[in-house]
Point group: C2
Chain length 497, copies 2
Amino acid sequence: MSTERPAAYQTLCDQFERVSYLADGASYLNWDQEVMMPEQGTPARAKQLSAITGVRHELLTADRVGEALAELRGANLEDPQAAAVREIRREHDRAASVPRELVERISEETSNALPVWKEAKAAADWSLFAPRVERLLALKREYAAHIDAEADPYAVLFAEYEPYLDLATAEEVLATLREGLVPLIDEIDASEVSLADPFQGHYDEDDQMALARAVLDELGYDWDRGRIDTAPHPFSLGTQFDARVTTRFDESDPVGAIGSTIHEFGHASYTLGLPEERYGSPLGQHRGLTVHESQSRLMENHVGRSRAFWTRLADRFDEHLSVDITPADGYEAANRIYPANTIRVEADELTYHLHVVIRFEIERAMLAGEIDVEEVPAVWNEKMERYLGVRPEDDAAGCLQDIHWAHGSFGYFPTYSLGSVLAAQLFEAAQSDIEALEAQLRAGSLESLQTWLTENVHRHGQRFRTGELVERATGEPLSADPFLAYATEKFGRLYEL
Amino acid sequence: MSTERPAAYQTLCDQFERVSYLADGASYLNWDQEVMMPEQGTPARAKQLSAITGVRHELLTADRVGEALAELRGANLEDPQAAAVREIRREHDRAASVPRELVERISEETSNALPVWKEAKAAADWSLFAPRVERLLALKREYAAHIDAEADPYAVLFAEYEPYLDLATAEEVLATLREGLVPLIDEIDASEVSLADPFQGHYDEDDQMALARAVLDELGYDWDRGRIDTAPHPFSLGTQFDARVTTRFDESDPVGAIGSTIHEFGHASYTLGLPEERYGSPLGQHRGLTVHESQSRLMENHVGRSRAFWTRLADRFDEHLSVDITPADGYEAANRIYPANTIRVEADELTYHLHVVIRFEIERAMLAGEIDVEEVPAVWNEKMERYLGVRPEDDAAGCLQDIHWAHGSFGYFPTYSLGSVLAAQLFEAAQSDIEALEAQLRAGSLESLQTWLTENVHRHGQRFRTGELVERATGEPLSADPFLAYATEKFGRLYEL
């Protein structure tokens, strides 16, 4: 490292490292809360997380950070230093507009909302959860207004998850997906082909866990830097030293559980590919949720749902579930399209995006006050009927299915679709860069693919803005076209369209 | 609560709550590090814990805390407010003498020392761990000097764990124990009685875990506020909302594992008995390690090793380990005295204290620079031979057996013996207060005992100083006499002395 870095830069980095370490500490406490914590631990955990969030906010908005940033405004920094300063400035500026008390209240409120969501979901009763959503919405509106009172609050919150693609881009991608997918799904619906569906038995959770571990071995998960557990709403979380995955099992649907495991593996791979020596700096942190989701969807869809990789997966399923399936059967089972499903995380690759559209429309309307929180179940069910032709049997299978609102995460959902389209775009680029990628996947080797992803995505941390990162990796701006081309080709072939 | 509390008191409490929440958050991260974290997670965890420790220190020593304390110096507060202020003042004053950087360095150094201790223990090679101990000793000497440069550094560090009994008291108790126990152990050694030792088989870990859970059920552990896991060095940790225990299993010694489980249950019971509504205040926190250890040893020795409770335990052993033992056999097995054992946590109730004496002498000498760190194995083995007549077969069974030095905990060991003697004293008082306590234990009911302990110990938090708490609960100052009387009577009967 250069010794000519200005003192203000060093001050800034030191302080930001503390901020990062606190955030990471809090994230493992979140993992504990969702995976390990006994039921009655919530009130204390809420206080602990709120205290860490509060001091993190204080450190990020401290005078010396503001002063260092002011001093560096004119400085002629080179990358990657300039990029680090840009990212710290962005986080500082957002945080500095919001009072610490509000940040702490949101943190405590979300910790406390979590068990209420679980309870409401178990009771399939939105009305139990609605008052919490009401409160969180009010807090989040207040939060957004502090950051930019003139802007659309939804856009302000969206930027929390994806700072460099604006909401217009997200809307455009979602519109393109809807226009492209609705006719494709209709065609599939009309097709006479029915794909193999060989998993009709009951598959024990322990066996599925053994299978999940075997699949993670196959994918090359580094167990010295990770672990797998179950969680009601699977997620991955951690640092480049310790990136954990969670999954959940449905005893009638082992393909779903493995898909979810591979998805979370993709998130963990990104985290584990961040540079160790940059730990604590923006240069050692992920580039936002679009890029994060691109990594999970790339693994889930372009590896885990590929004909090539099923030559490996089929054997693992045979070993652990005592089934006897061919790779072709497994491939078909993983790629069936079934619009009559109400659960996003169990959705197929195409209808998935319509689930995202539904949430996107509802949370925008809620945040804008265009619909009341009590109306959510009715609106939800009506939209689901319209977009997917199916009504959830109850709130648990409908508007209570996702954890995000209990986390206070409004504006998060669009990154799911953005990430999926980016996954296709990146995979297309990787295919053209890596000779015989398909043959490698058939042989169970992800090494070249992982090297390509690390080289083009992971190792950069936040050095580039999202758009820059995409263009450097693929030569093109973000676009839904590669995904639509891939989907049309793949499902056209599968369903003989 | 009174509305007449001075504003300075409120400021103080608010700030101290944040300090407490941060400390508790960090403690669950410690739990995770020892129980869940993948191997390579250490460097990042060290940074996270050091950051939390650092901000905790900053908040505790903030100007507004000093100012509020100064303002309250003349205030005419009533208990429990006065007690809360006394405790916050003590913590503030100690912290304010130490620079934050030193506190952070110690935190990071101990996180990083942990895997080195594990490695050294696995290799049975003290020389691998010695440089870490050297560094930690230097840091701890520096730490003690900041707090009181005139005082014996060992006394300063001891006060970290037991603030209100001075080192002279500890030395006196240890001397009394040594004088009382050495002849008793000699007599037992010379006795011709040999106690039952019915566990000669191999007992599967999973069965032992099921047994441990059954025993915790028997004891009334609240699973909604706790959990059990395994750890190489068992411990308990948490808050009144979530107090967890850990244990470890030796496939040839199920009595040891259950003893250790009951011990940690005692710690957890104390934590769960702290008042919920005082969470975050000193009034909702434990009274230091002597009292904490008294609760674990009371459960381990006076319940878990009692003839009465073995009428319940024997059945649980039968059920889960498929053995067929009588309560009398179990009682004898749990009370065998075997001086030829080198492992403290596997020691019997009497020789245990000689293990404590050995560590106490060695760590005082190390801290004072009277012995070099490299000499520790030789000194250790020599002392063990002298006090117990046995030499450890290697460093793993000798000076590397305990985790404490890897935690940077010097001055901690005496609280083990202090806690044990206090356990006997408290149990004697409980016996005289509770009618038919023995019959209740025989029936498997701990309710009256737990009520007595909560009433006399747990619910007070830090309201009283250690000595006051002991006198209020037992009518007498802390003394080793009840323990020696109990031991002489019990083992005299068992060994027909």
